[in-house]
């Protein structure tokens, strides 16, 4: 559900620009039909679901809504989701910048392979991603026996949830930065180095300011996905109530138990996150465009 909402501004924009062009070229009947189809599509697939989530969540009144959120299971799910997002987004921030830096600024053997690998989490079903961690850390898994003999719990515990989320959300930061850094080239870095700046200083004073908006954008998308991830987390979580349920998992559990209001109350928080992400994304897109320096006159 979250994903549909994130995609919507693009669809809206496209629909508007199509309508604007048609204003001057197409007869009103064609215009009317096209606009009608677009509006209907958006209403049914984007606007209506969003309204329904909130109306369902508030159907028994604000008091019930707040009580559903203050429930101990709900609070623990919110807490776990936040912790998971903070850890996996921080990890992907570091890995993403490092990977993008390597791909965009250097030539080396196996670069194409690395770029393909970065995309892997996007092309693999999240369920498979989860299963990989079961195979690695499960009781019969590759590291399982060793971990068990040392009393380390990864699977069906917080570490596996963080790992699965990190894996699934890995491409966001790197994907956002690679084209940006490739377009900017490495001449500014070369200039800084030849003026006597160290590698680290060059990164902090020259590279980072140039990519900051793109980086923030990547982090934002990464965070939205990290909080909304269901498939991979569902496989490795073990669904221990009050312990290993994230918000998306809790939504499903509550729904299956016919606790519709509570389920939609949690869902409404995720929807709210999506809306905030959207707003921030729009602002950032403007900043990224402004930050581009035209190369020549």
């Amino acid at each position: 559900m979250t994903i549909t909402i994130i995609n919507s501004p693009v669809t809206v924009e496209r629909a508007q620009s199509v309508a604007r062009q048609d204003l001057h070229t197409e007869p009103w009947l064609v215009r009317g039909i096209i606009i009608g189809v677009a509006v209907m599509f958006l209403t049914v697939f984007v606007v209506l679901p969003l309204i329904l989530v909130f109306s369902e969540a508030l159907s028994k009144g604000v008091g019930f809504y707040l009580a559903a959120l203050a429930d101990s299971e709900a609070l623990s799910a919110i807490w776990l989701t936040l912790i998971t997002a903070v850890i996996s987004v921080s990890l992907n921030l570091v890995f993403g910048v490092a990977a993008a830096w390597a791909v965009a600024k250097f030539e080396f053997r196996g670069k194409t392979l690395l770029v393909t690998l970065i995309d892997l989490p996007f092309s693999v079903s999240p369920v498979i991603s989860g299963l990989v961690f079961v195979l690695l850390f499960g009781a019969q898994g590759f590291f399982g026996p060793w971990l068990m003999s040392h009393g380390i719990n990864i699977l069906f515990a917080v570490p596996a949830i963080v790992l699965a989320t990190t894996f699934v959300t890995f491409p966001f930061v790197a994907r956002e930065l690679i084209p940006l850094m490739q377009e900017q080239g490495s001449q500014e870095e070369e200039a800084a180095i030849s003026l006597g700046a160290s590698g680290w200083r060059t990164f902090v004073v020259v590279t980072l300011p140039n990519i900051k908006w793109g980086l923030l954008y990547g982090v934002l998308l990464c965070n939205a996905r990290a909080m909304g991830e269901f498939g991979a987390v569902s496989v490795v979580s073990g669904h221990i109530r009050g312990e290993t349920n994230t918000m998306p998992l809790l939504v499903e559990i509550l729904y299956n138990e016919y606790q519709l209001v509570a389920s939609f109350a949690i869902a409404s928080l995720l929807a709210l996150l999506a809306l905030l992400t959207l707003i921030a994304k729009t602002i950032l897109e403007g900043q990224i465009e402004e930050g581009q320096l035209p190369r020549d006159d």
């Binding site: 001449q187 500014e188 070369e190 200039a191 800084a192 180095i193 030849s194 003026l195 006597g196 700046a197 160290s198 200083r201 004073v205 020259v206 300011p209 140039n210 930050g291 320096l293 035209p294 190369r295 020549d296 006159d297």
Partner: protein, 346 residues
Amino acid sequence: MTIEVRNIVKQYGAFKALDNVDLRVADGELLALLGPSGSGKTSLLRIIAGLDWPDAGEVSFDGENALARGAGERHVGFVFQHYALFRHMSVFENVAFGLRVQPRAVRKSEAQIRARVKELLDLVQLDWLANRYPSQLSGGQRQRIALARALAIEPRILLLDEPFGALDAKVRKELRQWLRTLHEEIHVTSIFVTHDQEEALEVANRVVVMDKGKIEQIGTPGDVYDNPATAFVHSFIGESIVLPVDVSGGQVKLGHRPLNIDAGGAVGPSKLFVRRHDMQIGPVGEGALEGTVRRVRTFGPIQRADIALSGDDTLVEIDAPRDRPLTAGDAISLQPRRYRIFAGQE
């Protein structure tokens, strides 16, 4: 500071960018590396700067091995074709960058840095732009700021990679003149890369002509124009008429026609190079070549004519003074006043 480059080899996959290059640059010289794209001139410049490393060979500054030092320790000012100004820093901060990143022990005080930046902005005549950002400047202004930034660290060597390549013709001409004057003022050993022969001949003390990773000729601008060492230099610098000839027994033949000119040591299939303005026009029977005027255009003091040579109708373009007017259809003879014959047909 003298620069000495010895046996430099640089290979990108199967492509040999530099093939055993030797070069000596004297102290205070303004040297141009001239060649078509892919000739290796930029690779050579980047190796001297420390932005690239050779596969083999040596680079030394004043006899000291430069390859043992990183780019930042060579005290080389580098100016990029696309300026490479730090886009999020003001003009002032761009120029101050090299001073601010110096190790704490030798770093100047804030007041000294301000004074030095002011001095440099005065030098490039852009002190009024100190608070602007690179995106607010014109191309010519950006390149002058880039130069001020490179000069801030008091470089021992100044390297410029196609410094005027991205500018329009008028600004390019102004900056060329300005660079010349600036070099006379500060006298730092400088190398600039260009593919524009006019720029190289006009600005540099010495020109290095490169092709396919090799140095074809090193000489003064007059030298490389008047006494090209190879067929490549002759055809790359200045406009030339090129005719395939055959030399045997000291006799030069174009097709079956003997030309009665000196072969100058070439033997076998060769090429005859003549500058367009070095062809003397005369009445039929009085020159090495004969032909018919096809078309005439006049540009100020000269007339340019297309001449179809008798025999195989090869079209050559010549420049002649206007005191002997040519008209289409005239039968004339051509005698090369100055020419070069280089053996080989490629």
